[in-house]
Symmetry: C2
Subunit: 219 residues, 2 copies
DNA sequence: TTTTATACAATATGTTTGTATTGAATCCGC
DNA sequence: GCGGATTCAATACAAACATATTGTATAAAA
């Protein structure tokens, strides 16, 4: 057997460098040379652990979901007792906002991946899957909140989930550009969640499932 | 005098090609050669009308604002009488959504420009200016709606503006990825606007002006 | 000890890129 | 019809890039 090296660990180290570059200057700025330099290794090493640049970027992108879900979990756990479904939901959504350095990096890489997914079918599939899980989780919290009487029972869970996620996404976007302060972001999120108490009943046809996909960018 | 050629018109033609490529495959896919091919002209011509690629991309990006504002104007004019401030506001926000081919192209280029602005100071300034105008316009409609009694008078106009724009942005983003149907998007927007009727009073400190910019990506 | 697969580093290769250069065609005032 | 500026096509070129190739060190296995 060869020299004892933790293969996965090495790959993760290099992927970290990709993250740092992607967060700082976008996925397009990811160069093999720079990744090597950022990771403090030779370009030969990077090549050894990744067949191609695409392979490297794909691996780094794959880690996005686990990173996001870890952030969500961490935030949810920090909710003090008694934990109402709505409070947990708020923590979850807050976890998606770039309010700290790690969150900012995650959001920046997320944006880059999202953007690239518009013209990369493989990445798009990955992205859709992550999004579906997020939608499902938010919806379940919403249902729990409705059951607990925190919000009206006769809401449209899917529509409200979309509304919450859209708002969170928009706020995150604004934070990346520093359009306003973190406190404003929190206030906006609270305002949105508060709006659930006056949520209207389901609208026929509005909460319909995803349509037969409009082709995003050209292939 | 030289050959009679409408200089600006030529530049605009070439910029159109940039738009088409950027919408289809992102700003990063914009190559001098491809722009020339897409516009059906020689590389030499592209070079003649634009000093550099940066110059070309910057010019194309500059047209974003006018294009967005034109869309907004068009949508606002289509509102049937009697035009209440809230109806006009809804039309304005709807105009920002990628609900038709032109809107989709605008949104895609907008996203590309926005993304690049995160690491391009010049572009960032341009983007900020456009955003400021948008915020001002939405806020004025909100004030008008409050004055007309369509929504509570004691709302926080700036915060509500941010909420509306964030929601619109998030919905637009979801539409680009075809996460749901256009009707759902409209329902979401209506839901958001409806929420204004139950808007809370201003929160101390929340609607504060933009902070001393957190540095976006590294320079 | 010899073998063999791994783990790299160093360098070569060929493509893609923006841009510089060169020169020809066009049109206007004269 | 001549001169000179404008327009723009063709091509050349250097830099940047991903990747292929080659060589060497290491350490477990035989």
């Amino acid at each position: 057997m060869p020299r004892q090296v933790d293969h996965d660990e090495r790959r993760r180290e290099i992927a970290e460098a990709v993250w740092r570059i992607a967060a700082a200057r976008g996925l397009e700025a990811v160069r093999m040379r720079e990744v090597a330099a950022e990771a403090g290794v030779s370009i030969g090493r990077v090549q050894h652990y990744f067949e191609s640049k695409d392979d490297l970027v794909a691996f780094a992108a794959t880690r996005l979901r686990s990173r996001i879900e870890e952030r969500i979990r961490r935030h949810a756990e920090d909710v003090p007792e008694p934990r109402s479904p709505l409070l947990v939901l708020r923590a979850l959504l807050t976890g998606l906002l770039p309010l700290d350095a790690d969150g900012r990096e995650t959001a920046l890489v997320g944006l880059a991946v999202f953007h690239r997914a518009l013209s990369d079918r493989e990445l798009a599939k990955l992205y859709q899957r992550g999004r579906a899980r997020l939608v499902a989780e938010v919806m379940s919290h919403l249902a729990a909140a409705a059951a607990a009487g925190e919000i009206p029972e006769r809401i449209d869970p899917r529509l409200e989930t979309y509304a919450l996620l859209a708002a969170t996404d928009g706020i995150a976007t604004d934070l990346l550009h520093a359009h306003y302060a973190p406190e404003t972001a929190r206030a906006l999120l609270d305002r949105q969640i508060d709006g659930l108490r006056n949520a209207p009943p389901p609208v026929r046809g509005a909460g319909a499932p995803a349509p037969p996909g409009v082709a995003p960018m050209a292939p």
